[in-house]
């Protein structure tokens, strides 16, 4: 079968590759770009472990073909830290509240949370649960995850008053 050219930006870095049509985006990210932080849990669009940001919106990368994202900007969990070796406010909040155990659903949760906080800087617990409603976790029962996102929102609001930004230049809650 034929190969297709794709060029895309992932975590701020430009990549070009030739991919078979049937290669999913999650397999492309993991096996071709070797960004293994995004995980495969079900391959049929239910568990959310494969979540990434596509042009700023959270989507299931197991339900996209690599060939479909030519020209797109993608952010994965590896792109959430402001600098290599550091942690974003959101990531640090997950650590503080122990919002994970095995870590397998965590990248997807972080992506869903990141998207929520970019749009809604003061979410209610109900809104937090709605934002992660499409991400399954079998370890935590969700409570410490909700706690983390609430904590991150609070810390971002405080630092926003001081003029901080999240990676990617997004000003949380602005505009």
């Amino acid at each position: 079968m034929s190969l297709h050219d794709v060029t895309l930006v992932v975590n701020g870095r430009r990549h070009g590759a030739q991919v078979p049509a049937r290669l999913t985006l999650v397999d492309f990210l993991r096996d071709v770009l070797r960004l293994t932080g995004t995980h495969v849990g079900c391959e049929h669009g239910v568990c959310g472990a494969c979540s990434i940001l596509l042009d700023g919106r959270p989507v299931r990368s197991c339900l996209l073909l690599a060939v479909q994202v030519d020209g797109a900007e993608i952010v994965t969990v590896e792109g959430l830290a402001p600098e290599p070796g550091t942690l974003s406010v959101l990531q640090d909040a997950f650590w503080e509240t122990h919002a994970l155990q095995c870590g397998f659903c965590t990248p997807g949760m972080l992506i869903a949370a990141r998207a929520l906080l970019a749009e809604n800087p003061a979410p209610s617990d109900e809104e937090i649960r709605e934002a992660i409603g499409g991400n399954l976790c079998r370890c935590t029962g969700y409570k410490q995850i909700v706690d983390a996102i609430r904590l991150a929102a609070e810390r971002l609001r405080q630092s926003n008053e001081a003029g901080a930004t999240e990676p990617g230049g997004d000003r949380v809650g602005a505009d």
């Binding site: 932080g37 495969v40 590896e78 122990h98 870590g103 397998f104 992660i132 409603g133 499409g134 399954l136």
Partner: protein, 802 residues
């Protein structure tokens, strides 16, 4: 009556909030799971699976598959059986044989018949479609009670019946107690098939190095004796297998015992001379991964007095293990260690029956059978209360073992180490605002709604011990259940701890670092914990049976104490003082009567590593220690009447749940969830709480949503996440945990295990809430899961009966 437990005092690190070390890599997306590994030349496996629940394999034609470019091999059961030993089962059932690939017969839909190996997974799947298998279908047996009938199809014909295990235990004067009791009641309860279903499927990579004659294995594994069983199956010396335990496991909760996958991959790696990888896709996992859970029919009888005192129990449990034995018949044995739950019940009859049917085999599931047992027992308690018109809490108070009665020996031979069940119950009732909940419930009912409160008091036996093995198979005389830990302090004075098994989210690195830090009085955050591989590891029995806080904690503390003694001895020797004239403080050693005379950590370390002339005579150079621990109270075989000490330490949980049910749709909403939890000293509170929240989520799933449904033809109807429904953030309510601490006298810090917390009591609690809600309608449901469809039907029949 025993002496009061001495409080263990304040800890420096243990029981304090501390960030979990492991979290740091996971939040960065830097975990290292088995599917993240890419070895050069790695080949990929896809499985050909049976579409029939029971059939003879007539022929397998792989020619077309092998002709496809990129395909390297197609393996059948016949070839594999020649080259490997069958999988082990704990029972004495030599005619029930199991190999990774079916031979002669397929026994369940999804059973693996052939393995295709290709350069990519996609190619392997393409080729798998071209493998032609001819079957001669046979009549399957799908219902476990039908499987007992003499005319039933027999899943393992050579074994002669579908019964893998059957034994009736009688502990105490059961018949006399039943005759003497004022009341008796009996009922049936059904725990249908669900499992803990981790989001990461099972996966394994194997690579054979002929120059070293060594098979390297990386796997998403949680299994005792895994390297040993693998070596044995592949007919390799034990030290020709190296399992890498530093692979991060994406959740297991018992089920990741992929020994069949690993034998398959190991064999292929050796045969093909290339690394081989098998990562289950979700469809393979759900039906062919052999990781389904208990599937039980309980027939219960209770004898009790009008005062509410429960005299005796009769439990008959039939467990449908599916098509192969696996570990699961033994899951009928573990609950024997807590067969009366937290209650003072004088005699018990327990009949355990394990049967085969043409369904996917079960695997060890979180709690190893305790959650279904607790559900049956708590249902019995609630039924007694309703029968007597007695308050469910008062009935429990009356029968709960009292604090003064510990250590308490139950009829089946286990001693409960410690507990204060009444205190925990009081705490949870207060924290839940029980009186307000009652008002809220009654107001909802007055407004025409269905509302109920569930109460469940359950035990979590912890510490692990395979005493159920000799109990269920007297030929298997085994009593060792150990864990080891090694520690070294290097020339730079930094501490490295080695543990010998994998971790699937329980925070073992943090656990071990905290324990070692506590004993050596050094900051846990800078103590490194590494996972050894199976060649360098000390013996381990893996994180099963809620054992690691007790066993890894105990082994780490033991090794740390040895190091502390060495450090103290070196310092004393160099200060010219007797060992009892000095004191270890924070890693330095000071003279008791003159603190100015001291030797600091760095100096002591330097002497140990570089100044042999300054060591006490007879002491080994360097600073390293290891400790291997047998499970406390272990080491004894069962008695002839089946009495044995099962696990050593007993944690306790009391759940209070408030639920509302929509009368028409049958949807259950959990509006409030409070749990009182006593696992003794919590080494890391966030980790313990996390597992409790997660356990409750698992329990909610089992109670309301999750089921491996089979039709009457043995077809699995819920084989993907579209139909096997797990709770999301919408279905798990906010949960309040109220902690209590009754330390165990058996462990170094008084810690008990807690890895199964929440799961062991939540299904009982949710069932209790639903039944309380249905009480005004005179209805009772003792069948899990209590799904929307099932409750809807039940409510409709009540409605039409009016």
């Amino acid at each position: 009556m025993s002496a009061p437990i001495k409080p263990l005092g304040n800890f420096r690190y243990v029981a304090h909030k501390r960030r979990t070390k492991e979290d740091r890599r996971f939040i960065a997306g830097a975990g290292r799971y088995v599917a993240d590994l890419a070895l050069p030349g790695m080949l990929h496996v896809a499985l050909v699976a049976s579409p029939y629940p029971f059939a003879r394999i007539v022929s397998i034609d792989a020619k077309a598959a092998l002709a496809m470019p990129g395909v390297r091999a197609v393996l059948t059961g016949a070839e594999l059986a020649q080259a490997t030993e069958p999988l082990m089962s704990g029972l004495d059932i030599p005619k029930v044989r199991r190999y990774p690939l079916a031979i002669g017969l397929v026994r369940y839909v999804g059973e693996w018949v052939a393995a295709v190996v290709a350069e990519t997974r996609a190619l392997a799947e393409d080729a798998a479609e071209l493998v032609e298998v001819e079957y001669e279908p046979l009549t399957p047996v799908v219902d476990p009670e039908a499987a007992l009938a003499p005319e039933a199809p027999i899943v393992h014909p050579d074994h002669g019946s579908n019964v893998l295990f059957r034994r009736k235990f009688v502990w105490g004067p059961v018949e006399a107690d039943f005759a003497a009791a004022e009341h008796r009641l009996s009922f049936r309860a059904r725990w249908n098939r669900s499992s803990t279903v981790p989001i990461e499927t099972f996966g394994v990579v194997g690579a054979w190095n002929p120059a070293l004659q060594l098979l390297d294995i990386w796997a998403s594994i949680q299994m005792p004796k895994y390297p040993d069983q693998l070596a044995r199956a592949l007919r390799l010396p034990g030290n020709a297998v190296r399992v890498h335990f530093d692979v991060d496991v994406g959740g297991s909760y018992g089920v990741k015992r992929g020994i069949k996958h690993t034998i398959l991959v190991g064999y292929l790696a050796m045969r093909l001379g290339s690394p081989v990888r098998l990562i289950e896709d979700r469809l393979e996992n759900m039906r062919g991964g052999d990781a389904q859970g208990p599937d039980r029919i309980f027939d219960m009888a209770v004898a009790f007095d009008g005062s509410g005192i429960i005299r005796s129990l009769k439990i008959r449990v039939l467990d449908d293990v599916g098509a192969h034995a696996g570990r699961s018949p033994l899951q009928l044995g573990k609950p024997i260690g807590a067969i009366v739950g937290p209650y003072r019940i004088g005699s018990v009859e327990y009949e355990a029956i394990s049967v085969t049917t043409n369904k996917t085999p079960q695997e060890a599931v979180r709690g190893f059978g305790q959650a279904p047992a607790n559900f049956a027992l708590e249902t019995a308690i609630d039924r007694v209360a309703r029968h007597l018109g007695m308050d469910r809490i008062e009935l429990r108070r009356l029968n709960l073992i009292r604090h003064e009665e510990f250590p308490y020996i139950i009829p089946s031979g286990s001693t409960y180490d410690s507990g204060d069940y009444h205190a925990v119950l009081d705490k949870v009732l207060a924290a839940s605002g029980y009186a307000d909940l009652l008002r809220r419930r009654d107001a909802a009912r007055a407004a025409g709604g269905l509302a109920g409160i569930g109460i469940a008091c359950c035990l979590e036996p912890s510490g692990g011990n395979s005493a159920f093995e000799p109990l269920f198979n007297p030929k298997n005389e085994t009593t060792t259940w150990m864990e080891g830990c090694g520690i070294k302090i290097d020339l730079n004075g930094t501490i490295t701890v080695s543990m010998g098994t994998s971790t699937s989210g329980q925070g073992h690195e943090t656990l071990a670092a905290t324990v070692v830090g506590e004993v050596l009085e050094r900051d846990p955050d800078i103590i490194r914990v590494v996972h050894s591989d199976s060649l360098t590891a000390l013996p381990s029995n893996s994180p099963v049976g809620s054992r690691m806080a007790i066993m890894l904690g105990g082994a780490a503390a033991g090794a740390a104490n040895k190091l502390k003694a060495s450090l103290t001895a070196i310092a004393a020797h160099n200060l010219g003082l007797a060992v009892d004239a000095v004191e270890y403080r924070g890693g330095d050693v000071v003279a008791r009567h003159d603190p100015a005379r001291r030797l600091g950590w760095d100096k002591i370390v330097e002497i140990a590593h570089r100044k042999f002339h300054q060591l006490p005579p007879g002491m080994e150079p360097g600073l390293q220690a290891l400790h291997v621990l047998e499970v406390p109270t272990g080491g004894r075989l069962p008695t002839a009447d089946g009495r044995v000490q099962m696990y050593p330490c007993y944690a306790f949980e009391a759940h209070v749940v408030y639920a509302e049910i929509d009368r028409v749709t049958g949807q259950v909403s959990l509006r409030k969830y409070v749990v009182g939890h006593d696992c003794g000293t919590m080494i890391n509170p966030d980790i313990v709480h996390g597992m409790t929240y997660g356990g409750i989520a698992h329990g909610i799933g089992a109670a309301l949503y999750e089921r491996f449904s089979y039709d009457e033809n043995g077809q699995l109807l819920s084989g993907s996440f579209m139909d096997y429904l797990m709770p999301s953030s919408h279905e798990v309510p906010d949960i309040l945990i109220v902690d209590h601490c009754t330390p165990s006298p058996l462990t170094v810090f008084g810690q008990k295990g807690s890895g199964e917390a929440g799961y062991l009591g939540a299904p009982a609690a949710v069932a209790g809430a639903v039944n309380d809600a249905l009480a005004p309608l005179g209805l009772w449901i003792a069948n899990l899961p209590m799904s929307v469809g099932v409750l809807g039907e039940l409510l409709a029949t009540a409605e039409s009966g009016k």
